[in-house]
Structures are given as C-alpha cells and as structure tokens.
Symmetry: C7
Subunit: 68 residues, 7 copies
Amino acid sequence: MQKATNKVVSVRLKSELEYRGKMSNVDPYMNVILVDAVESENGAPKANYGKVVIRGNNVLYIRIEDRL
Amino acid sequence: MQKATNKVVSVRLKSELEYRGKMSNVDPYMNVILVDAVESENGAPKANYGKVVIRGNNVLYIRIEDRL
Amino acid sequence: MQKATNKVVSVRLKSELEYRGKMSNVDPYMNVILVDAVESENGAPKANYGKVVIRGNNVLYIRIEDRL
Amino acid sequence: MQKATNKVVSVRLKSELEYRGKMSNVDPYMNVILVDAVESENGAPKANYGKVVIRGNNVLYIRIEDRL
Amino acid sequence: MQKATNKVVSVRLKSELEYRGKMSNVDPYMNVILVDAVESENGAPKANYGKVVIRGNNVLYIRIEDRL
Amino acid sequence: MQKATNKVVSVRLKSELEYRGKMSNVDPYMNVILVDAVESENGAPKANYGKVVIRGNNVLYIRIEDRL
Amino acid sequence: MQKATNKVVSVRLKSELEYRGKMSNVDPYMNVILVDAVESENGAPKANYGKVVIRGNNVLYIRIEDRL
C-alpha cells in the first residue's frame, strides 16, 4: 500500500460513503490521510475536505485510481 | 496525526454525531481529547463541552480544519 | 486521562445511557470506575450506584465536568 | 477490580440480561466467574446458576453491591 | 476455566443457541471443544454433534453443570 | 484443532451459511482452508468450491464429521 | 494463502459484494490486493477496478479459482 502514497485513490467505507483524494499517508491498519478530498454518498458528491484522516476500521477497500 | 495537535478539528463518529474543537491530544487509536468542543447531530449544534475524551473506535474520520 | 482521576466526569455510552460520578480510576482502554454514580437514559436519571466499573469498549466519550 | 473478588456483584450485559452473584474471579478483560448467580432480564429473575463464567466482551458494567 | 475440563458444561452463545456436552478443552479466549454435544435453541433440542469446536467470540457464558 | 487436519468438517458461520469439506489447514484464529467444499444455506446445498479459505472471525463452530 | 499469489481468486465479503481478479498480494489478516478486478453484487457485475486493496476484516472467504 505504501507504494501508492501520493497517488489519487478512492476510499470506500462500509457505509455508502466514499472519499477520493491524494493519499498523503497510509498505515498497515489502512488509516488513510487524504488531501483535497471529495466525499460522495451513493456516487453523489457531498462535500470537499482539505485534509481528512479516515480511521482504517471503517474501510471496505481502497482503489488506486492512477492505474486506470 | 500528532502534527495536528492544538489545531481545530472536526471529529465525525460512525453515528451522525460530530465534535468540533481544539485537539489537545490524539493517540494512534484516534482517541482524541477536544477542548471547547461543540457537538452536532446531522449538522445541527446540540451541546458545548469544556473537555471531552472521544474513544477512537467510534471515529469515522478527523478533518483538520486549519488547512481550509 | 489519568490526570482526571478523582474528578467528576460523565461517561456517555454508545447507547443512550450515561453515567455521572467521581472517576476513581481509568485505564488506557477507557475502562472506568465511578463512585456515587447516577445512571441516566436520554437525560432522565434512572438509578444510583455506589460503585460501578464500566467496560471501556462501550464508551463513546468521557466529559471532564470539573472544567465547566 | 481484583479487590472486589468474593464480593457480591451485578454484571450487566449489553443486552437486557443481568447476573448477580459472588464474584469468585475476574480478569482484566472482565471475564467474570460468578457463583450462586441469579439471571434477570429487564429486572425479572429468570434462572439460578451454580457457577457461570461470563465472557468479558459482553459486559456493559459491573456494580459492586457490597458498597451499597 | 481449565479446572472445568472434562466436566459437563452448557455454552450459551450471543444468539439463542446453546450447546451442552463434555468440555474436552477450553482456552483463554473461551474457544471450547465439546464432545457428545446437544444443540438447543430457545431451550428446544435441535441436533447432536459428536465433536464441535465453538469459537470463543460467540460465547455469552459457560455454565459448569457438575456443580448443580 | 490441528489434529483434525485432513478430516471432513462442517464449518458453520454466524450467518446461516455452512461449508462442508476436507479441512486441509486451520490456524488458531479458526481461519480454515477447505477443499472440495459444499456451501449450504439453511441446510440446502448452494454451490461447490474446489478450494476456499474461510476467515476465522466469521466462524460460529466447526464440527468434526469423522467422529460421527 | 501466500501460495495462491498471482492466481485468480474470488473474494466474498460479509455483504453481498464479491470481487474477482488476480490476487497480487495477501497478508495473514486477509488484506488482499486484486488487479483487473470485477465487482459483483448478488452475482451481477457492477464495476471494473484496475487495482483494489480490500481490507481483510470485511472478508467472508476467498475462493481459489485456478483449481476449478
């Protein structure tokens, strides 16, 4: 995962929430720091956050967008 | 996270509760101590707390407000 | 947290239960021992307990009342 | 907690179940051994158990009855 | 708990399921091996198992039947 | 549990799903590898899997079939 | 599990979601990295992902497809 640092990722939570932004840090528990993040719910954008730290135990998966 | 100590943050819980205040301390489990905190539910302020210790396992994310 | 030992605190659980009393002990998991505790539900007092040990994994937050 | 060994306690679970008996042993996870225990649900006695080992992760709190 | 090895016990799960049999082994997480076990739900027998290993995190309590 | 390696077992999950097959491996968390596994739900067969790795935290119990 | 690296697997989550792709990495917690993954829900394909990291605690089981 650490190799994906500074790439754009989408973090999907167990709920319908998803956060897309540049992953400035991630640890083995999948605690993730995103900068310039967009929060979406069921695919609809809801809010923009300058810097957000997502607690890993809420994460369903992380998609690495730069590969697409 | 420790770099954000003493900044104003918003702590969103897994429920609809959110706490905004100065983060006087945070540990790797995201246990957070906030001072002069405002509790909101679905965006509506509910209460003010002088000092509150939030248990990390309830946390969905922490936004660092000072960057905005 | 240990600095708040012997202060009056309110322990809010993930459910609507809340316990207010003197915190005679607390550990890093937020297991809390309260003496002369009042149990409330949705803000309404329900019972008084001489000494109660609350298991930390039920805790949402702990407010330090003495600062208010 | 260990100081309360051999005292009469009430163990409240996260569900509406409660067990009252002499606490012959307790460990840091709040696994509790009760002897001569009465099981209640919503305050109504349901059954008597000679010896019961309650797994700590089900526990909401333990009240020390001898102090009352 | 280890002292109760080879005694007849009833293992109550967080659900309404209960298993009664000879406890041939138990570990500190309350993983339990029962032999000649009867499975009951809400008190009604459902099935017989020669040997069953119950994962501890499902356990609500273990009653030691031999004391009754 | 390791003694039951290569025996036929039935792995019951917390949900109504059950998997029966030869247990080629098991670890202390009850992560289980089954080969030639049949998946059932509420007792009705649903699918066959050549090799499946079940994550232990979903397991309710493992029955050792060879003893029956 | 590590022996299945680079094989095609299907990762079933506790919810109805399933991900099929080449498993480029897996760790003991069943955190899984899939490449060229297809997401299905109740058996119907929903989306394609170039690279996705699934957090292990959401996993129900992993099927090794290459054996079929």
